[in-house]
Amino acid sequence: MTGQDTDMFSEHYNFAYLDEQTKRMIRRAILKAIAVPGYQVPFASREMPMPYGWGTGGVQVTAAVIGSDDVLKMIDQGSDDTTNAVALRGFFIKTTGVKATTKTSQATIIQTRHRIPEEPLTENQTLVYQVPIPEPLRKLEPRETETRKMHALEEYGLMHVKLYEDIAKYGEIATTYAYPVLVNDRYVMDPSPIPKFDNPKMHEMAALQLFGAGREKRIYAVPPYTKVESLDFQDYPFEIQRFEEPCALCGAENVYLDEVILDDKGGRMYVCSDSDYCEERREQGHLGHMAANPIAEPENSGPRA
């Protein structure tokens, strides 16, 4: 992205694309969302120049929050290099001219789809989630009119019945991602489709967490240092996924791993889903058992932002 492109764009569009009236409307929704953690604030989501379902909610939240001195990190599936992360990062570089980074520790705003970075976030950071279906009760009750009532009355029996049926049927709660949480002892909230592995990171996180659902027109938030509990039962406590082997590239344990199929004979390796975390570790000299595998070394790792 050249400076010239940015200039061309700024002639036709406002900083961060959205007009100021739209930003104000989103900002007001964010303030309410922060005041009532876990409650989904309706907002007049705009048509964005990328499709609904591709991060329009996260993009609108980021566009309303971002300032010219922010440093942005954009990830999808934990990685800075996935196609949609590349496209959305390009959008913000073009419309704001802010600095982008892949380093978690250097970012002031991190927009994410489906993951929370492995490295603990700090008080100076804001994590913006892209959310497809903000309503945690939606799969149990398709009607907004009904689910809104359930939240109003704090009537979450249906959710507990569903989780309990899972246990009766499968011997465990068969939800592996978008695992519902209770925020500040009041609202049941959808954490977005992050693996349940990431749920504990939300609890008492130092960073502010903002959630944007563009198509469904909802914004919600978890302020820093807020109680976030994954729903469970006393006799069936919440558990996160465990991997039997460490990252094949950096040897990290207790991180979320992607399974990569190497051939058609069952050969596979597990590597960190958080690509920045993995690279940092390798730079520090941590090596996994397949770090020397040719497939593991980039022939074309794509330009870095």
């Binding site: 929704a29 302020p223 240092y225 807020t226």
Partner: protein, 208 residues
């Protein structure tokens, strides 16, 4: 789009020097203030001239957050000032309302004489967001003394002291918290700082 209302006697004082970036800075301070209740967020808006008796920092918050979609309530000194009303109408387009309960925002320039908190809108069970946000002037704003605050956004506990305040303010604010998730949210604005007090904050009146 704001157009000068007919019958404006004189041109209102100018608004934000850089509407896009100033509004972002002001909002960010407000966001951090509510996300971390009790913390003092520095906000320098020395280049803004607001008409008396509207304090500058309050004016900045109003310009950053209000528009024609947000009915605003003004306390008596502000409502009585033609300059303030013209200024807000010109720069924000926000309709000024007489009823506290109709207000999305309330600007309180003299907190010691403000009407009871319970008169403002606390939202509904299904839409707790349809509530009033109060922007209140403070001559002093410190973390020394004052009630003990805890809850979302506060790691352990903190203290916040704003002055002047109406005698029953902290009791009213504490009652407001019991309505949670309904309730009003408050932003205090001193000459160069703001602090937030959302409805989620638990207020312990026994001073620490």
């Amino acid at each position: 789009m704001t157009t000068a209302p007919l019958g404006l006697t004189k041109a209102p004082a100018p608004g934000l020097a850089n509407p896009v970036h100033d509004a972002q800075c002001i909002f960010k301070a407000a966001m951090n203030a509510l996300a971390r209740p009790g913390t003092l967020q520095t906000l320098h808006v020395t280049n803004l001239t607001a008409p008396h008796p509207l304090p500058r920092t309050m004016a900045a918050l109003a310009l950053a957050l209000l528009d024609y979609d947000t009915p605003v309530y003004l306390d008596t000194p502000l409502a009585k000032s033609r300059d303030v009303v013209d200024y807000l109408r010109f720069h924000t387009g926000a309709p000024v309302v007489d009823m506290q309960a109709d207000a999305a925002f309330a600007l309180i320039s003299t907190p010691e004489k403000m009407p009871p908190l319970s008169g403002f809108n606390v939202g509904t069970d299904e839409y707790p967001d349809r509530s009033t946000t109060l922007i209140m002037a403070a001559e002093t704003l410190t973390n020394e003394a004052g009630p003990l605050l805890s809850g979302p956004g506060i790691k352990t506990t903190t203290q916040l002291n704003a002055a002047p305040l109406a005698p029953g303010f902290w009791h009213q604010m504490s009652a407001n918290q019991t309505l949670y998730p309904l309730g009003v949210d408050v932003l205090f604005a001193s000459v160069d700082q703001i602090a937030g007090l959302p409805r989620s904050t638990t207020i312990s009146l026994k001073e620490a």
